[in-house]
């Protein structure tokens, strides 16, 4: 196997994973998805490290990836805790809620065209055979729980 070609190919695949992760991290607004994308960037780096380790016949690459796994686990735990905290405060996983860091005179980012939203389908609850009195169901409460 052409070791040099292998290295090159892996580095480019790693770059692609990293780049796609970046794009996702930049543009997606769901915090969970953003973390998925961050993990994807870590994957890109891991692929590159393993390729370099093989190319140089050095265990360091793989060992570093093991530590990346460890750190990624820690990061995931902390991140999920933070996400939960934020979700508790806003009731949304939307990152755009948290933009208080902007300058005073800067207009807040809002969805450009809320009317373009696809109309949300009515919740289709399974039809049960009536037994007794059907409780009054507040749709709003069911579909939009503001907090856990």
């Amino acid at each position: 196997m052409d070791e040099q070609a292998l290295l090159t190919n892996y580095l480019i695949v790693g770059a692609l994973l990293f780049g796609i992760g970046l794009v996702g991290f930049f543009s997606r607004r769901n915090m969970i998805v953003m973390f998925l994308c961050a993990e994807m960037m870590l994957q890109g780096v891991s692929v590159s490290l393993v390729a370099w380790g093989r190319y140089h016949n050095d265990w360091g690459g793989q060992i570093l990836v093991i530590f990346i796994l460890t750190v990624a686990a820690c990061e995931a735990a902390i991140a999920l805790a933070v996400v939960l905290t934020l979700f508790h405060q806003s009731g949304k996983l939307d990152i755009a809620v948290w933009q208080q860091l902007r300058e005073d005179n800067q207009a807040a980012f809002v969805d450009r065209d809320p009317s373009a939203l696809t109309p949300k389908p009515e919740a289709q609850w399974p039809k049960l055979v009536p037994a007794g009195i059907e409780p009054e169901l507040d749709l709003q409460e069911v579909t939009h729980r503001s907090h856990l």
């Binding site: 970046l22 991290f25 930049f26 543009s27 990152i95 755009a96 948290w98 933009q99 208080q100 860091l101 902007r102 300058e103 005179n105 800067q106 807040a108 980012f109």
Partner: protein, 686 residues
């Protein structure tokens, strides 16, 4: 008892120690703050007298080639090797070959003693002791009590150092130090705007003189290659034995004249000579003991001391000597005329001081040994009787509740008998009435000037100016005396209607000074032999200083004329001011223009204001406007760029986390392109 070097060091060391103790512990000493300074100055005075007796003995017993001197090097202050190419006059006679091509600039802290120094030390410390004791009573209860004595101690230290150092640089240093003390003490009551203004004026006018003095020192340095008085390190000092003993040791012609005129400018500033005399009357805003000590007896005579010290330099230039004499005579007459009409007792005395200092410079300008010793003689007697007069005036002021305007009080002789009698002694001495001290010294000056007048019309004219001023002196002195102590008893309401004689600490120094004002002249003229002692000073023992021939007959004539003038002056004053003052008023109306000029002090202040102060103020205002609008405008313009850029960049702060990450990635992209891709492309295209 003591070795001379030890005495030379101890004399300034005592006041310095007293100053430091008072400055550090003054706040806690409170009303006892005078003790360290008074005790140290009295000790210093005792040591000065011991030194004087030793010097008298040594100068007689072990004379050197030219006069007698003793130097004692303490430490090296600064040393710059090869500072100047050897000037022509670096070595007198044939000593030039022994000197290197480039001479070092060395300033050693060297103390010296010779008759001139030891006499000055004795006078300074003696008067300072009496004034300090007087001030214990005068300044009692002042909130700045300890501050006052700190300044006085510092002044005595500076003044004793000024006359003891043996180097022009150090002379300049302590010249400025006494100026600083004068500034601090004139502005002692800094709540008074007039005191602040007077201190500032004294400082600024002295700057003019000191600038000339500094230039003079530079010229001495480039001409003689050293600034030491004495011979040191193989280099002949400016006033050293080698140079004085040799012939042709001093530069002549234009250089000598310029050096002397620059030194004289410095002396004019410090000794309040025309045209720089304007600061001294204003300096009377300070406490009266300060006026007596600094602005009558000691600091203002520093100029006289300096010119006397530099006699060999002045002997080399007849033109400069004539300038000194003319300035002296002009100041003398000017001060006398102005003093005639002033109503403020202390200002009368201030103009009288200016006038008497003018006498001293007139004497120095004659250039003969007799004249110079006469000038120093007058310096001594003047120190006694003028300090006396000021302290007596201070006593009056103390009793009158701070009022010193003679129009507001009169007839105090019953109220203040001690002050009255001591003031009378001082007045007789100042007026030149035989046999009081002032008579002998003033007569010695006029005699010496008259002697020069034999072969020079200029000096003859100056002699008559001096003589007429002696007449004026008697008139204004006794005008002040009669207005203050005779006539109906009147006291201003500020005195609180319980005006009384001053306490013992104030009257005892007055009486001691009165004794000296009476007897010092006779004693120094006769058995004290001041002239003979001063003749041992190297600067005055220099053979090129003209020695006088016998002056018996003509001197007697001078004595007679001056006595007649003095007595007639006293008589006229008595005629005009004893009893009805209508006569004086009529006389003033008769001589209205002259009266107007004299009362307005010849309008020096408005003229100086118009010539110097206002143009400078306008210039300062213009600079201020340029600074405010042009310079600050430019700075503000530059300063407005970052906020402008920041306002533009502010729109990048969207608060979206992703945007910050995105910006970071752009930075990484730029780094990769510059570090990896661009070199690869550059290498590939080669």
């Amino acid at each position: 008892m003591f070795e001379i070097p030890i005495l030379m060091v101890l004399i300034p060391a005592f006041p310095l120690a007293g100053t430091i103790v008072t400055a550090v512990f003054g706040k806690w000493l409170k009303h006892e703050a005078h003790w360290p300074v008074v005790v140290s100055i009295v000790c210093s005075c005792a040591l000065s007298l011991a030194l004087l007796s030793q010097v008298i003995h040594e100068a007689e017993a072990n004379p050197l080639a030219v006069g007698w001197e003793s130097t004692f090097e303490l430490w090296n202050w600064t040393s710059v090797p090869e500072a100047i190419a050897r000037p022509e006059f670096a070595a007198p006679a044939d000593g030039a070959a022994a000197l290197p091509e480039r001479l070092p600039f060395v300033v050693n802290v060297t103390m010296r003693s010779d008759p001139l120094t030891s006499i000055m030390l004795a006078v300074v410390t003696f008067v300072a002791s009496l004034v300090a004791i007087y001030a214990v009573g005068y300044m009692h209860g002042d909130p700045g009590y300890w501050r006052f004595f700190t300044y006085i101690g510092l002044f005595v230290f500076s003044m004793t150092m000024l006359v003891s150092v043996s180097n022009f640089v150090l002379l300049y240093v302590f010249w400025e130090a006494v100026g600083l003390c004068s500034y601090l003490l004139v502005g002692f009551w800094y709540e008074k705007p007039a005191a602040i203004a007077a201190g500032k004026k004294a400082f600024l006018v002295n700057r003019v003189g000191d600038f000339g003095f500094a230039l003079g020192l530079f010229l001495i340095w480039t001409t003689y290659g050293t600034l030491n008085y004495h011979d040191a390190d193989g280099i002949a000092g400016v006033l050293g034995q080698t140079r004085l003993a040799a012939s042709g040791g001093y530069a002549a012609g234009g250089v000598a004249t310029v050096i002397c005129l620059l030194l004289m400018l410095g002396a004019c500033g410090k000794s309040a000579q025309f045209p720089l005399h304007v600061w001294l009357p204003d300096a009377m805003e300070g406490p009266t003991p300060v006026s007596a000590l600094i602005h009558a007896a000691t600091m203002v005579t520093a100029g006289v001391y300096m010119v006397t010290r530099c006699t060999p330099l002045f002997v080399a230039s007849a033109d400069a000597q004539q300038v000194v004499a003319i300035v002296g005579a002009t100041t003398c007459a000017l001060g006398g005329v102005i003093a005639l009409t002033q109503t403020d007792l202390k200002r009368v005395l201030a103009y009288s001081t200016i006038s008497q200092l003018g006498y001293m410079f007139l004497a120095l300008g004659c250039g003969t040994l007799v004249a110079i010793t006469a000038g120093m003689f007058h310096l001594l007697t003047h120190a006694f009787f003028k300090a006396l007069l000021f302290l007596a005036a201070g006593s009056v002021m103390h009793a009158m509740g701070g009022i010193i305007d003679m129009r507001r009080f009169s007839g105090l002789r019953k109220l203040m008998p001690y002050t009255h009698w001591t003031f009378l002694f001082g007045g007789l001495a100042l007026g030149g009435v035989i046999p009081f001290a002032g008579f002998w010294s003033k007569d010695a000056i006029l005699g010496a000037v008259h002697q020069r007048g034999h072969d020079s019309a200029l000096y003859l004219a100056l002699y008559w100016v001096g003589m007429i001023t002696a007449f004026l002196t008697a008139i204004y002195t006794f005008r002040a005396f009669f207005l203050t102590f005779y006539g109906p008893l009147r006291v201003p309401h500020e005195s609180g209607h319980h005006a009384h004689e001053s306490p013992r600490t104030m009257t005892v120094p007055l009486m001691i000074l009165a004794a000296f004002a009476f007897g010092a002249g006779m004693w120094l003229q006769g058995p004290g032999d001041l002239a003979g002692l001063l003749g041992h000073t190297p600067s005055l023992a220099y053979q090129a200083v003209p020695r006088a021939a016998d002056h018996g007959g003509s001197h007697l004539l001078v004595m007679t004329i001056s006595t007649i003038f003095a007595l007639s002056g006293v008589g006229i004053a008595a005629y005009l001011y004893l009893g009805d003052d209508a006569l004086a008023t009529r006389l003033a109306r008769l001589l209205a223009p002259l009266y107007w000029l004299s009362y307005g002090k010849f309008f020096f202040d408005p003229i100086y204001n118009a010539l110097f102060v206002w143009p400078l103020l306008v210039l300062a205002k213009a600079s201020d406007l340029i600074d405010t609008y042009l310079i600050d405008g430019l700075v503000n313009l530059v300063g407005s760029v970052p906020p402008w850029v920041g306002a533009r960049l502010r729109s990048l702060q969207t608060g979206m986390v992703q945007f910050y990450a995105l910006a970071m990635v752009w930075g990484v992209v730029v780094l990769i392109v510059t570090l990896l891709i661009w070199p690869a492309i550059a290498a590939g295209s080669k």
